[in-house]
C-alpha cells in the first residue's frame, strides 16, 4: 500500500487501506515523540504554511509542532492580519503561497469545500484542517488512533457521537472513517441537530442519551456550538445538559471502561460534566498528544507522494 494523494481533504474519499496506512504511519511517529530528541529530518527543507481563516489554537499548534518535529519550516498565516483583509480571494492567496515555494498548505476555513477548491488550483499539497461543517480529517484520524491504541482495534467497536451533528465537521469525518474501518457508529442529538439523510452515511440515529451510552465502547462528545444557532432553535445550555450532558450518573449504566473522548475545547457543564472530563475514563488529553503523531504522518505522506511524482492530481 502506497500513499499517492497530494492532498488530504477528507476521509470520505479515502479507502480503508489508506486510513490504516495513516494510522500505522502515525504509530511509528508516536515512537519518535517519546524519544529524548523528538525530531526527525523527514521534511527538512520543506515549508509548511498554516493558513487559518478561523480562529484555532489547538489544531494550529498541533500542526505546527508536528511540522517542526519533521524538521519543516513553518509559517503561520492568520487571515485577520493578511491580504485576505484586502479582499484577496482564496485561490489568489493559495497560488501566492505556492509561488513562495511552500510545499504544504494546512488550511482551516469556515466554508465547507474550501480545501477541495484550493487543492484544485494549486500544485502543492493541501491538508484540510477543518472546512465549515464538512470535514476535519486529522481530528477524526487522531480519534481513531486513540481508539485503536486503547482498544486494540476499530472493527466492530461501538462508538457513539453525541452533540451537534448537523454543524460538526468532526462528526462527519469520524463517521466516514469509523464506518470504513468497520466500527458501528451511533449519533445522538436533539432532532434539530441531526442533519437529513445522515443514516445514509451508515450510522444509527438516536435521540436518547441513555441508548447512546448503553453499549458504547467509546463516546465522542462534541462541543455544543451555540454560536451556530441562527434561528434560536437550539435547546438552552441547561436543557441540553439535562437531556444530553455526559455525567457520572449517566455513565453508571454504561460499560465500565467506556472511553470518553472530546475534540475540544470543552464546554464544562454543558455537554460534559467536569468529573467526567477529568475522570479515569477520559482520554481527552491523550487525543491531544496523539494529534501530533497523526499530523506528522499526514504531512509526511502527502509530502512523499508529491516528491515521488506519483501524486494523483485528483
Amino acid at each position: 500500500m502506497r500513499w499517492t494523494r497530494k492532498d488530504l481533504l477528507g476521509l470520505e474519499e479515502l479507502t480503508a487501506e489508506e486510513i490504516e496506512l495513516i494510522l500505522d504511519t502515525a504509530e511509528s511517529f508516536k515512537e519518535v515523540t517519546t524519544r529524548e530528541i523528538k525530531k526527525v529530518p523527514a521534511l527538512r527543507g520543506k515549508t509548511v504554511v498554516n493558513l487559518f481563516y478561523e480562529p484555532s489554537t489547538r489544531t494550529r499548534v498541533s500542526f505546527e509542532i508536528a511540522a517542526k518535529r519533521l524538521s519543516a519550516d513553518v509559517i503561520n498565516i492568520a487571515t485577520e492580519t493578511s491580504s485576505v483583509q484586502k479582499g484577496e480571494t482564496l485561490i489568489d492567496t493559495g497560488t501566492n503561497i505556492e509561488a513562495l515555494k511552500a510545499d504544504i498548505i494546512v488550511m482551516r476555513h469556515n466554508c465547507s469545500g474550501a480545501a477541495a477548491i484550493l487543492a484544485r488550483h494549486v500544485g502543492i499539497s493541501v491538508v484540510n484542517a477543518g472546512d465549515g461543517w464538512h470535514e476535519h480529517p486529522t481530528q477524526a484520524l487522531l480519534d481513531m488512533f486513540t481508539l485503536k491504541e486503547k482498544l486494540g482495534r476499530i472493527k466492530d467497536v461501538q462508538v457513539s457521537i453525541v452533540g451537534d451533528i448537523a454543524h460538526s465537521r468532526v462528526a462527519r469525518s469520524n463517521i466516514w472513517g469509523l464506518t470504513k474501518l468497520g466500527a458501528r457508529v451511533m449519533v445522538c442529538a436533539p432532532e434539530i441537530l441531526i442533519p437529513p439523510g445522515i443514516e445514509r452515511m451508515g450510522v444509527e440515529v438516536t435521540h436518547s442519551i441513555e441508548k447512546a451510552l448503553q453499549d458504547a465502547d467509546a463516546v465522542n462528545v462534541l462541543r455544543m456550538q451555540f454560536e451556530r444557532d441562527s434561528h434560536g432553535a437550539f435547546p438552552s445550555h441547561l436543557e441540553y445538559f439535562q437531556k444530553f450532558g455526559i455525567t457520572t450518573e449517566r455513565l453508571e449504566k454504561a460499560k465500565k471502561d467506556i472511553l470518553i473522548m472530546h475534540p475540544g475545547p470543552l464546554n464544562r457543564g454543558i455537554e460534559i460534566e467536569s468529573s467526567v472530563a477529568d475522570g479515569e475514563n477520559s482520554v481527552i488529553l491523550e487525543q491531544v498528544t496523539n494529534g501530533i503523531a497523526v499530523r506528522m504522518a499526514v504531512l509526511f505522506l502527502v509530502s512523499q507522494a508529491r516528491d515521488s511524482g506519483n501524486a494523483d492530481p485528483h
Binding site: 470520505e12 480571494t89 482564496l90 485561490i91 476555513h109 466554508c111 465547507s112 469545500g113 474550501a114 477541495a116 477548491i117 488550483h121 472546512d131 465549515g132 461543517w133 464538512h134 470535514e135 448537523a166 465537521r169 462527519r172 442533519p195 437529513p196 439523510g197 445522515i198 445514509r200 452515511m201
Partner: protein, 430 residues
C-alpha cells in the same frame, strides 16, 4: 438575399412535416418548402444527411444588459445562442436597472435594436425593482412590448400582492412567469436538502421550498384566470402539481432546463461551483420525473435559464459563489443526447419542446417553417459529436456545468430572419 437549403430532413411540427425537402429563403422569410427546388440563390447549402428544424426559442435567458455587461451583453448572449441554434430569446428582467418601467423597456429595446444578433423578446418585472412590494405598470409594459412578466430570481412572497398581479396580468393578457421559491423555507441553502447537503456540510434547499410555491401560484392563477408559466421546474412534486392543474384546466405551462434532466446532485459533491444553480440539482428520482414530465407533456418547454457569471464570482468558496449556469450553446446538444437518443422524445416532440411550444406560450410567430413565416432555422448534423470546452463557448462567461461533456448533434448553420447568422467552421470548410 436568397438562401437555398438542399436535401435536408425538414422537421416542422407546426406544419406536421417530416420529410427530405429543399427550403428556399427570400427577403427574410421562408418562401417555399418542397422537393427539387430550383433557384439561383445567393447561397446554396447542400444539407444532405442533415436535419433542419425551426430556430430554438429559449424563453428563459439572462442577457445581463443593462448593468452587468462584464457577465454578458445582448450581443454576446444572442451570438452564443446562434452557435447553439437559438434564434429567439426571452430576456429576463433582473438586470440593473430592473426592467420594471416603460422607460427601462425602451432602453433595452434600443440596445437590442443596435446590438442583438438574434430576436430578443422582453419579459418585464412583476414588482418595481423586483422587490416584491409594488406592482409595475402592466398596461405600459405591455404597450412597450413586454410579452410576459416575472420577478425571476425571486418569487413575490406576498400572497395578496401576487393575487393582484395575476388579476392584473389577466386583464392585460400578460403571461406571468413564476420563479417558485419560498425563501422562508429555502433560507440560505445552496444545494439540495438531504443526504447531499449533509454530506457536503452545506445548507440545503428543500424541494418543498419550490413546490409549495408552485402550488400557491397555481392556485392564485387559477382563481384569477390568468396564464401562468412555471420556470425551471426541478423536482418531482412540482411536476405532479402542474400535471394536476393541467387536468383541472388551469392555464398553466411549464419549462425545465437541461441541467435538471441531465444532471443530479451527485455532480455537486466536488464543490464545483459550476454545478451551483437555483433551484439546485436534485435527486435521481427528481431527474427522472423531469424527463418523464417532458415526455408526457406536463412540461411544455426546454429553456436554458442561461445565467452567466464571471470567473471572479464563481472561482471562490462554494457557498459564496453566485447561483446560475450558462446554457444557450449547449441546450440543443443536451436535448438530443439526453432526450432524443434514449428515445424519450422523437424529433417532432423535441422541436416542440425547444422551439414551437415556447413560441406558442409567448404568443410569437416563431417555431415554424411554414411558408411565409420568418426564416429562423437550424441545420444540424445529428450524427456528429462535439465536446463542450471553455474555448468553444462564446458566451462572455464560461460557467457551464457541462464542460468536458461529449454531446451529440452539431449545429452546422443557423439562419436568423433570413440571414446566415452562424456557420460552423467545419461546415464552412467543406
Amino acid at each position: 438575399m436568397q438562401i437555398l437549403i438542399k436535401n435536408s430532413r425538414v422537421i416542422d411540427p407546426a406544419n406536421g412535416r417530416d420529410m427530405v425537402s429543399d427550403i428556399l429563403i427570400e427577403h427574410g422569410r421562408i418562401k417555399q418548402v418542397a422537393r427539387e427546388l430550383k433557384a439561383e440563390a445567393d447561397k446554396t447549402i447542400d444539407a444532405s444527411g442533415k436535419i433542419t428544424i425551426p430556430g430554438l426559442v429559449d424563453m428563459h435567458v439572462h442577457l445581463r444588459e443593462p448593468g452587468r455587461e462584464d457577465k454578458e451583453t445582448v450581443f454576446t448572449g444572442t451570438r452564443a445562442g446562434l452557435y447553439g441554434g437559438v434564434t429567439s430569446v426571452l430576456a429576463m428582467p433582473n438586470t440593473s436597472p430592473a426592467i420594471d418601467s416603460a422607460a427601462s423597456i425602451r432602453l433595452l429595446k434600443e440596445i437590442v435594436r443596435k446590438t442583438a444578433a438574434s430576436n430578443v423578446y422582453i419579459c418585464a418585472a412583476i414588482t418595481k425593482g423586483r422587490e416584491g412590494k409594488e406592482l409595475t405598470p402592466f398596461a405600459q409594459l405591455k404597450a412597450e412590448g413586454a410579452l410576459a412578466i416575472s420577478d425571476d430570481g425571486s418569487s413575490v412572497d406576498s400572497t395578496p400582492l401576487m393575487f393582484e398581479a395575476f388579476k392584473s396580468a389577466k386583464e392585460h393578457d400578460l403571461l406571468v412567469i413564476c420563479h417558485c421559491q419560498d425563501r422562508s423555507l429555502s433560507g440560505d441553502g445552496v444545494v439540495n436538502l438531504g443526504f447531499t447537503s449533509t454530506r457536503m456540510g452545506l445548507r440545503g434547499i428543500s424541494s418543498e421550498s419550490e413546490y409549495k410555491r408552485v402550488q400557491r401560484d397555481l392556485e392564485l392563477a387559477a382563481e384569477a384566470g390568468a396564464r401562468v408559466h412555471i420556470a425551471h421546474v426541478s423536482c418531482r412534486e412540482s411536476v405532479e402539481l402542474i400535471a394536476e392543474a393541467k387536468k383541472k384546466g388551469v392555464r398553466v405551462s411549464a419549462e425545465s432546463a437541461p441541467h435538471y434532466f441531465a444532471l443530479t446532485e451527485e455532480s455537486v459533491l466536488s464543490y464545483d461551483t459550476n454545478m451551483k444553480m437555483n433551484p439546485p440539482l436534485r435527486s435521481e428520482a427528481d431527474r427522472q420525473a423531469i424527463r418523464e414530465g417532458l415526455r408526457d407533456g406536463t412540461l411544455d418547454a426546454i429553456a436554458s435559464d442561461h445565467a452567466p457569471h464571471t470567473e471572479n464570482e464563481k472561482e471562490i468558496e462554494f457557498e459564496r459563489a453566485e447561483f446560475g449556469v450558462i446554457g444557450l450553446q449547449t441546450e440543443l446538444g443536451l436535448a438530443i443526447s439526453e432526450l432524443l437518443e434514449p428515445g424519450l422524445l422523437d424529433w417532432q416532440a423535441l422541436v416542440q419542446k425547444i422551439s414551437l411550444n415556447p413560441a406558442k406560450i409567448l404568443g410569437i410567430d416563431k417555431g415554424t417553417l411554414g411558408e411565409g413565416s420568418d426564416a429562423d432555422l437550424v441545420i444540424i448534423d445529428p450524427h456528429r459529436e462535439w465536446t463542450v470546452t471553455k474555448e468553444g463557448l462564446v458566451s462572455k462567461s464560461k460557467n457551464s456545468p457541462f464542460l468536458g461533456k461529449r454531446l451529440k448533434g452539431v449545429v452546422e448553420y443557423t439562419v436568423c430572419n433570413g440571414t446566415l447568422a452562424y456557420e460552423n467552421q467545419h461546415a464552412a470548410g467543406r
